[in-house]
Amino acid sequence: MSIEVNTRKVDWVKKETVKELLKRMKYSFPLVVVKINDEIIPRSKFSEVYIPNNSKVSVIHMISGG
């Protein structure tokens, strides 16, 4: 019962949303693109979408500068 978050193996928590996972991982930066397996999760769905067991989660944060 585990998931992979940015190549780090962490416990899978039943009925945990993307928003809750970001909080648990202490990803405090507000600006992220989240992908679960191959699907990009829109920000508006962060508090609705549950993290499935065995999934691979990528959290990408955007940094200012251009």
């Binding site: 600006l31 693109v33 992908k35 990528s58 955007m62 940094i63 200012s64 251009g66």
Partner: protein, 198 residues
């Protein structure tokens, strides 16, 4: 040079278009690289004027300070490759309609400044134009550490990425690294248009 390959690429690029959101360090340099490569059409969007502090890394000249970036970049590109068709829009991207100018381009390049705007733009393109490839960049500030940059591919999003770079609010923006990222973005756009170079 491989003549056959050169001609094949030339033909394909001539028929292709790239849209660039933001004409600062990333956008101006990416646009020039694509113009030199022979892109057929560029859609350029920016609302800003050139300031003297921009000259350290953006593709503008001292005598262009005060001009609109859309106009100045058009002038500069015309001096390099006059055959590029340029659709320039001097306007601010407004949340809710950010995708408007990019509906008919082959690839979109995100070349914006603040992290908030980057995320908003990427999300709007990904959700409203789901078949459109978008190239974005994150982590341009600082110098050195070229090897930390990598491409992250998330579906239609191709991200030129250095997660260890600092925000430009607390770091510096200098030509070599900004140019590296800008050309990385342009190079990704070419790869998307032409397919993998084998």
């Amino acid at each position: 040079m491989n003549k056959e390959k050169t001609n094949k690429i030339k033909k394909k690029l001539k028929k292709s278009s790239v849209g660039i959101a933001g004409l600062g360090g990333l956008g101006s340099n990416a646009a020039v690289a694509l113009a030199r490569a022979g892109i057929g059409r560029l859609v350029l969007v920016d609302f800003d004027k050139i300031e003297d502090s921009n000259i350290t890394r953006q593709y503008y000249f001292l005598d262009q300070i005060g001009k609109l970036k859309t106009n100045a970049l058009q002038d500069n590109i015309k001096k390099i490759n006059p055959s590029v068709v340029i659709d320039a829009y001097c306007e601010k991207l407004i949340k809710g309609s950010m995708e408007t100018r990019f509906k008919d381009v082959d690839v979109v390049i995100e070349a914006l400044d603040s992290a908030e705007t980057k995320v908003a733009f990427i999300e709007e393109i990904l959700t409203k134009l789901p078949d459109k490839p978008i190239v974005a960049a994150s982590g341009v500030s600082g110098y050195g550490h070229s090897d930390r940059i990598s491409t992250k591919n998330l579906g239609k999003l191709f991200l030129c990425y250095d997660e260890n770079a600092k925000s430009c609010d607390i770091d510096v923006l200098v030509a070599p690294r900004v140019g590296l990222m800008a050309n990385w973005e342009a190079n990704l756009a070419l790869e998307i248009i032409l397919g993998e170079d084998r």
